[in-house]
C-alpha cells in the first residue's frame, strides 16, 4: 500500500487511530485502553509509513511482519488493520462480542492481518525471531517488528529471545518497547523495577535507540536507523505515556483495563478533534 512520510498527516492519522480505539472500547465495555493509546503513534508510524504490506494480500510473502507481543493492545492493532483496509471498519464495533473475529486478544486464525495469536505476555519476540530467521533463509529483506510492553519484559522468555536474536545476528528484527511505566498493579518501578532498560537491551547485544514514543519524527527516524544497523538486532525504547491523547486518562494506572464511559468518550473525542481543528 502507498505509505506516507508526511509527519503532519501521520500525526492526524494517529489521532484518528486513537478516536477509533476509544469508540470501539466504549462499545465493547471492556478492554485495555491505556496501553492501546500509549503505543498509538508507534503503530501508526509502522502501518501507515514504514511497513511494506498489502491489505489485499495479507499473506504476501515479501511483506514486513508486525507481532503484537503485548496482545492486550488488540484494539490498536484492529484499528490499524481496519484503517489500512484489511477489513471493513464497521467490524470494529464487534470487538469482544460472540462470533466476532475481533477477540479480546488477537487471534490469527480468525482475522486476516493478525500474524500470530498473542495475549499471554512474553511470547511475541521468540515468534518474531523465528520469522526473522525464516525470512533470512529465503533471502527476503522483509523486516519483523515486535511491540512489547515494558511490564511485559518482566517475563523471562523475553530475555531468552533477546539472547537468541543477538546470537543469530537477526538484523532484520526490530523490537519496540512501549515504555509507559505502568502495569496493572501500579508503577513498574514499584511492582518489579525495570531500569536500566536501555542498559539491559544493550547488554544482550542489541543496538538500542532511546526516544520519545509520541514524537512522530523521532519514531520514524528510529525506525529508519534500525534498518541501517547490520549484524545485530535493534531495540527502540519508546518513552510513552499510558492513556496518551486523552488528558484525563494520561498516566493513570486505573485505565489499564478500564474502558471509557459514553460521557468520557464524548469528552475524549472532543479533545482529539480540538487538536485537529487547532
Amino acid at each position: 500500500m502507498t505509505q506516507v512520510r508526511d509527519i503532519g498527516r501521520l500525526k492526524k492519522q494517529a489521532r484518528t487511530v486513537r478516536a477509533e480505539i476509544l469508540k470501539m472500547l466504549t462499545e465493547a465495555g471492556s478492554g485495555h485502553t491505556g496501553g492501546s493509546l500509549s503505543a498509538a503513534d508507534i503503530v501508526t508510524a509502522l502501518y501507515f509509513c514504514k511497513m511494506r504490506h498489502n491489505p489485499k494480500d495479507p499473506a504476501w510473502k515479501e511483506r514486513d511482519r508486525f507481532v503484537l507481543s503485548k496482545g492486550h493492545a488488540a484494539p490498536l492493532l484492529y484499528t490499524a488493520l481496519a484503517l489500512s483496509g484489511y477489513f471493513d471498519k464497521s467490524l470494529l464495533k464487534t470487538l469482544r462480542k460472540i462470533g466476532s473475529p475481533l477477540q479480546g486478544h488477537p487471534c490469527s486464525k480468525l482475522l486476516p492481518g493478525v500474524e500470530i495469536s498473542t495475549g499471554s505476555l512474553g511470547q511475541g519476540l521468540s515468534i518474531a525471531n523465528g520469522m526473522a530467521m525464516g525470512l533470512k533463509m529465503d533471502g527476503l529483506n522483509s523486516r519483523v517488528y515486535c511491540l512489547l510492553g515494558d511490564g511485559e519484559t518482566q517475563e523471562g522468555q523475553v530475555w531468552e529471545a533477546a539472547m537468541s536474536a543477538s546470537h543469530y545476528r537477526l538484523d532484520n528484527i526490530c523490537a519496540i518497547i512501549d515504555n509507559n511505566g505502568l502495569q496493572i498493579d501500579g508503577h513498574c518501578c514499584d511492582v518489579m523495577a525495570l531500569e536500566p532498560i536501555v542498559g539491559k537491551w544493550a547488554a544482550f547485544g542489541w543496538h538500542v535507540i532511546d526516544i520519545d514514543g509520541h514524537d512522530m519524527v523521532a519514531v520514524i527516524n528510529a525506525l529508519d536507523e534500525a534498518e541501517t544497523v547490520k549484524k545485530k538486532p535493534t531495540a527502540i525504547v519508546a518513552r510513552t505515556v499510558k492513556g496518551k491523547g486523552v488528558s484525563f486518562f494520561e498516566g493513570k494506572v486505573k485505565y489499564h483495563g478500564i474502558t471509557p464511559t459514553s460521557d468520557e468518550l464524548e469528552k475524549a473525542l472532543g479533545e482529539l478533534e480540538d487538536i485537529d481543528n487547532g
Binding site: 487471534c107 500470530i116 511470547q123 521468540s126 515468534i127 523465528g130 530467521m133
Partner: protein
C-alpha cells in the same frame, strides 16, 4: 496377525535413534525442514541433522520457551520446524507456549520429544516425563503420537511431515525391540490390532506394546484369549478399534509408560464410558513420581511388566 520384524532379524533400536535417522532422510528430501533443539542435540539425536544441514538447524540453548516460540515463527514463514528436547522440558517448561502459540494458532510445528517415561532411568524423577501425554492431549488442535519401535518412529516422522498442524511425538531413550510387522504402514489415528481376544484386550502404546505382546503369549499358554492393540496415535484416538475390542471381550486393559491419569488409559476410559461401558484396568504409573534406577528394575517397581498385566487380567476375569 503379521510376523514381527524381529523374527526376521530386526535389531533393537531406540526410538530417538530412529528419529535422528528419519530427520536426516527428511532433510534430504525437503528443503523446508528446519530443526531446533535446546542444548540436547546429542541426546535427542537431532545432531546428525545439524551436521548435515547446519543452515537449517538452530540450537536455542537451554531455553525451551524460546525454542517453541521460535519454531512457531519459522512455521509462519512456511518452514516445517521440528522442535526437540526432553519430554519433561518440552511439554512442561514450555506448555503455555505450546498452548498459546502452537495449538491455538494451529501452527505447523512438530514437537518431537525424547527421554519420556521412567526408562530415562538413573537421572530420576526430575527427568522422567510421566504426564506429557496428558499435557499435550488436553490441548485442542493437538495430535499426540507414541511410536512403539524404531520402524514405527520412522514412519511416524514421514507421516507427520505430510500433515499440516501441530503434532506431539513421544520418544524414548532406551533401545527397544521391534514390535511392528514387516508389512505395517502407519497412518495418523489408525491403531494396529495384532489380535482381538475373546477374554480380554490390551490397548498399549510405546514400549508397553512389546510388554503387552509378551503378556498375550503367556496368557495364551494358560488358555486365556487376550488381544493386543498398538494405539500409537493417542489423539485422535482410534475409537473404532477400541469399540471392536470392547465388544469382543468385555474387558479392556490399557498399558502405558505414563501416569494412569490423563494418558492412554484416560483417553480409552473417556471414550468407553460414554459409548460402550466395560470394565477397564489401567497399567501405568499410579499417580506417583518415578525414581532413579536401572530401566528394567524400574519397570518392575512400577508394575510395567508382562507378569503384572497377566495377573491383572486373570484377577479381573475371576470377578
Amino acid at each position: 496377525m503379521g510376523e514381527r520384524a524381529e523374527s526376521t532379524g530386526g535389531k533393537n533400536i531406540a526410538t530417538r535413534d530412529a528419529y535422528g535417522e528419519a530427520l536426516l532422510e527428511l532433510g534430504k528430501k525437503r528443503n523446508d525442514v528446519v530443526v531446533l533443539d535446546a542444548d540436547l542435540s546429542g541426546s535427542t539425536k537431532t545432531g546428525a541433522f545439524a551436521k548435515a544441514f547446519p543452515g537449517r538447524f538452530y540450537n536455542m540453548g537451554i531455553s525451551e520457551q524460546d525454542l517453541i516460540g521460535t519454531a512457531g515463527g519459522l512455521s509462519l514463514t512456511g518452514k516445517l520446524p521440528f522442535a526437540s528436547t526432553f519430554a519433561v522440558f518440552e511439554t512442561g517448561r514450555a506448555w503455555e507456549q505450546i498452548r498459546q502459540t502452537i495449538a491455538y494458532s494451529h501452527l505447523n510445528v512438530k514437537l518431537v520429544a525424547t527421554h519420556s517415561g521412567i526408562t530415562v532411568a538413573e537421572d530420576g524423577a526430575s527427568h522422567q516425563a510421566i504426564e506429557d501425554i496428558a499435557l499435550m492431549r488436553v490441548l485442542p488442535n493437538m495430535t499426540v503420537i507414541v511410536p512403539s519401535d524404531g520402524i514405527e518412529t520412522k514412519q511416524v516422522i514421514a507421516a507427520i511431515a505430510d500433515y499440516c498442524g501441530p503434532v506431539y511425538v513421544r520418544l524414548g531413550r532406551s533401545k527397544v525391540p521391534v514390535v511392528m510387522p514387516e508389512d505395517y504402514k502407519f497412518s495418523i489415528g489408525k491403531a494396529h490390532t495384532y489380535h482381538t481376544g475373546k477374554d480380554a484386550n490390551i490397548i498399549a502404546a510405546g514400549i508397553m506394546v512389546d510388554v503387552a505382546l509378551k503378556a498375550m503369549g503367556i496368557l495364551k499358554n494358560e488358555g486365556v484369549d487376550a488381544g493386543v492393540i498398538n494405539m500409537s496415535t493417542i489423539k485422535p484416538l482410534d475409537n473404532d478399534a477400541v469399540l471392536r475390542a470392547a465388544k469382543a471381550s468385555g474387558l479392556i486393559v490399557t498399558a502405558e509408560e505414563h501416569s494412569i491419569i490423563g494418558g492412554l488409559g484416560g483417553a480409552v476410559c473417556e471414550f468407553l464410558s460414554e459409548n460402550y461401558p466395560v470394565p477397564v484396568k489401567k497399567i501405568g504409573i499410579k499417580d506417583t513420581f518415578g525414581c532413579s534406577g536401572p530401566s528394567d528394575e524400574l519397570m518392575k517397581l512400577y508394575g510395567l511388566t508382562a507378569d503384572n498385566i497377566v495377573k491383572t487380567i486373570k484377577e479381573a476375569l475371576k470377578k
